[in-house]
Symmetry: C2
Subunit: 208 residues, 2 copies
């Protein structure tokens, strides 16, 4: 269920300590993937660098070629989650001109991503306590992009007039709550049903 992460698109922000060789990149990705599983399962404070390197199948010293501390690999996972989610949503909504349709496709892509990466979801939540700056950067970057998209859609007459900032946070809140239903509450409601109900609310509200 939990795919290793680490591959980033060339167009995305280059992480610090990015290795120069393909083999180095594979090792760094193995460490990141292992950190995702170990920190996701044990939580930040109980996960040790030894656990992570053991899970990655590398010597403990190898960790320090790529990361200075456990906090650094943790912060990198939060950034990685942000890059991956934005990339996933951007791919899923590519070519969709209408904002409402893009909203629906983006919500579905987000929920599928979260279901495939339950550990990453938990890691982002734990960032509020381990690395609050990374947490604020994660949600802040999303809100910025969301606000811009809503402002453009409003100008194009694709959505009604309304405060794009509060709407961005509200829509992110819906996506997050439904993602949490999947990976924290282990809801068995199919993603397609979650998306259909939530999209109806987003499109039409609940007025009779």
């Amino acid at each position: 269920m939990n795919k290793p992460i680490g591959k980033t698109d060339a167009s995305q922000k280059t992480p610090v300590n990015q290795p120069k060789t393909a083999r180095g990149e594979a090792t760094r990705n193995a460490i990141l993937g292992a950190a995702e599983r170990v920190i996701g399962a044990k939580g930040y404070s109980d996960a040790s660098i030894g656990h992570i390197t053991s899970e990655a199948g590398v010597a403990q010293g190898t960790f320090y070629i790529y990361f200075k501390t456990k906090e650094e690999v943790f912060s990198e996972l939060v950034l990685e989650m942000g890059r991956l989610v934005r990339h996933t949503i951007s791919e899923a909504t590519q070519g969709i001109e209408n904002r409402l349709e893009a909203e629906k496709a983006g919500l579905r892509a987000f929920l599928e991503f979260v279901k495939a990466h339950p550990d990453l979801y938990r890691i982002v939540q734990e960032a509020l306590f381990v690395d609050p700056d990374a947490y604020r950067e994660y949600y802040g970057a999303f809100a910025d992009g969301y606000r811009t998209g809503l402002t453009e859609a409003e100008a194009a007459g694709q959505i009604s007039i309304g405060d794009p900032d509060t709407r961005a946070w509200a829509l992110m809140g819906i996506a997050r709550a439904l993602g949490e239903q999947l990976v924290v509450f282990n809801s068995e409601t199919p993603i397609s049903e979650l998306v259909a109900s939530a999209y109806d609310l987003i499109e039409n509200g609940i007025k009779p």
Copy 2:
């Protein structure tokens, strides 16, 4: 900004180790209020029982009259947050027959509560890592009540037809995201504006 908590309504669930005397109750409440401030500021793992009793102005041994462990006082804070938020929303919506109007009044009361208790909000979030059962109980109890209210409102024709479960989670997600804007992102948008924008989305959606 951060009022001590601990007073509960007689009609609500009685906590374990509830003291029998008024003085005992005052001491227990002082410890709970101190734990709220200390754990909210330092986080669970850095907050010690010594910090909590020092903040409460009681001897360290006094803590153990009311709570067995730091985890127990933490779990009690999460339960207390649930009781207080439900009580606050219930008071704010009392006598409002129409669900949409109740939705608006409840959202405003929730945001005012969160702004007054930023530490409690953080504590509930940290419960996902410290006491996942308390976390699930907190949101699960809210979702149950919300679902019931939406089902009744749908039957009464006060809201449109739709899945009450997904709607409950989506609406909780909106409230949570706006609360987080206030206490994690320190947004200066007045609560009245947040409520007006979010309520417009909840009532009408964003369709042009």
